[in-house]
């Protein structure tokens, strides 16, 4: 396997939400087998970037190549085939509340394969073992805690053995112990199952522990792409602010400030 072979290529991605520009020309790539962490403060566009990577939204301009497929050229059947090769764990889990945990995890198998029920149940239990949730398959999602929901969502995301796994804020809202257990799990998934991972997070500690490379987004621009050591040694002031949790210097423009307060858009 060629280590530097990239499985995601983003070229000059520009996106809008309504008339507001969110991503302002983002170029990045993810290599096979690596864990790429996308970081940034709130409003930096990291969640938007993720939604575009998994083709839930369409960019204004620019291109995304996922597993060798240019998204803008794919037809419905192409997307159908591509989506079976990726897994996504959403922030809140997004498990279907009307199904048990086991049925949730089996759903992709039930829809895309012709396996018999017993085989699917065994596979679901295997994935539950991987995420340390063995024995929970008959519970409803509402009976799980936040951390368990996220792990169950991971189990569902990897049931089809995807080549790329996307995780949205895996440790948000969890206590430090559970969150570090999730980090361990993510590392294990990469090492044991050979997946490439794209993880969106704003937790520095977690990012440093799991990342092979980090992409830092800031106000819709790429601020930095590099390894953990490179980011720690970066001399860029904004990155150091981010690492040391310093707030940005407030802009000192009294006229703009007054205009904002009075709602005067004419200036």
């Amino acid at each position: 396997m060629n280590d530097s072979e990239s499985i995601i290529d983003v070229e000059n991605l520009v996106t809008h939400y309504g008339t507001r520009m969110i991503l302002k020309g983002v170029t990045m790539s993810v290599r096979r087998g690596e864990i790429m962490v996308i970081m940034g403060g709130s409003g930096s566009g990291k969640s938007t970037l993720l939604r575009h990577l998994i083709a839930l939204e369409w960019p204004t301009s620019g291109s995304i190549k996922l597993l060798g497929n240019a998204l803008e050229e794919l037809d419905n059947d192409g997307f159908h085939a591509l989506r079976k090769k990726i897994g996504v764990a959403f922030q809140g889990g997004a498990l279907f509340s009307s199904m048990t945990v086991g049925e949730n995890i089996m759903l992709p198998l039930a829809e895309h394969t012709h396996l018999d029920r017993q085989t699917m149940e065994i596979m679901a239990r295997m994935k539950l073992e991987v995420v340390d949730l063995a024995g929970f398959e008959n519970l409803m999602p509402s009976e799980l805690s936040g951390g368990m929901l996220k792990r169950a969502a991971l189990a569902r995301a990897i049931i089809m053995d995807p080549q790329v796994l996307f995780c949205d804020e895996p440790s948000a809202g969890l206590d430090p112990v559970v969150s570090s257990a999730l980090d361990e799990l993510i590392l294990r998934l990469r090492d044991a199952l050979g997946m490439s991972l794209v993880v969106v997070t704003h937790e520095l500690e977690s990012a440093f522990r799991i990342a092979d490379r980090i992409t830092v987004l800031d106000k819709g621009h790429i601020l930095f792409i590099g390894t953990v050591d490179e980011i720690k040694n970066s001399s860029n002031e904004r990155i150091q602010n981010l690492l040391n949790r310093r707030t940005e210097e407030a802009e000192l423009d009294p006229v703009a400030y007054l205009n904002r307060l009075t709602g005067d858009k004419s200036v």
């Binding site: 998994i54 083709a55 839930l56 059947d77 997307f79 159908h80 085939a81 989506r83 079976k84 990726i86 996504v88 959403f90 922030q91 809140g92 997004a94 498990l95 279907f96 509340s97 759903l107 992709p108 829809e111 895309h112 569902r156």
Partner: protein
């Protein structure tokens, strides 16, 4: 606010309205596509999901449909006899009741009931799923949300609502018959014979055809309201109410248009 602002807002609303109708048409066409050709693409609409929905929309509504249909039947008989007595034509009440029940009241009352029970449930379910990113989750798992979430209730609704309407026809006519027997002394068997003799297949199909259109309307309004939710959990209540109000309005207006057109061809 200036006139221009008002004009702009009106214009925006009109465009939105047209866009929503277009969306409804597109969703209906896509659902139909999945129902008819899904199995060819190995992405069938699940039979078990349709049966589950028929259970929920149709079977569970039977008790309340029974109560309301019987009440409507008796009410029509009372009013009919009361009105016709002015012309000493009480015996004609059988015709009046039969026609109003089968052509108007049964489809309308069943439609409104199902809109309140199942249209609202559909909007609430889709709204909650959209907020919890469950619809996104389906999409990224290569499970088409229209096939998985909309096609089964649509098919179930189109089967269950006419069936419920037919059931309501029978119950309402029977209840009216009981009242007529009590008030005018016309035996139930004579009443039944007169009713069957007078009602044509056309009258029956008029009512059942309407209920099929209502079924599509209720599903579309529920799905569009649920899926177009923006914001948080408090919006679910809003879209649910909106779905019920809009589908009842759509049912009543369509009923009028349908009656107008069908009595002229």
């Amino acid at each position: 606010m200036s006139i221009l602002d008002h004009l702009e807002r009106t214009g925006q609303r009109v465009t939105q309205g047209v866009a929503t109708i277009g969306l409804g048409g597109a969703l209906f066409a896509e659902s139909l596509h999945w129902i008819l050709f899904g199995h060819l693409k190995k992405q069938p609409v699940r039979f078990s999901a349709v049966v589950g929905q028929i259970m929920e929309i149709g079977i569970r509504a039977l008790p309340i449909v029974t109560v309301l249909s019987a009440t409507i039947g008796v009410m029509l008989a009372i009013q009919g006899i009361h009105t016709l007595r002015m012309f000493s034509a009480e015996s004609k009440v059988v015709i009046g009741v039969a026609l109003s029940v089968v052509r108007e009241f049964s489809p309308l009352i069943t439609g409104i009931l199902v809109a309140g029970r199942s249209g609202s449930a559909l909007a609430a379910r889709l709204g909650t799923m959209t907020i919890n990113q469950e619809v996104d989750a389906l999409t990224v798992m290569a499970i088409n949300p229209v096939r998985f979430l909309m096609a089964p209730p649509l098919l179930a609704m189109v089967i269950a609502l006419p069936a419920l309407t037919f059931f309501s026809d029978v119950i309402a006519l029977f209840a009216a018959g009981l009242y007529v027997e009590m008030d005018l002394g016309l035996s139930l068997s004579a009443y039944a014979l007169q009713t069957i003799d007078f009602l044509s297949v056309d009258d029956l199909m008029h009512g059942l055809g309407k209920s099929m259109i209502f079924a599509v309307l209720i599903t579309l309004v529920g799905v569009i309201n649920g899926a177009s939710i923006r914001g948080g959990a408090e919006e679910v209540g809003k879209v649910t109410t909106q779905a019920v109000v809009q589908s009842i309005a759509a049912i009543v207006i369509t009923d009028m248009i349908f009656a107008f057109v069908m009595t002229r061809v």
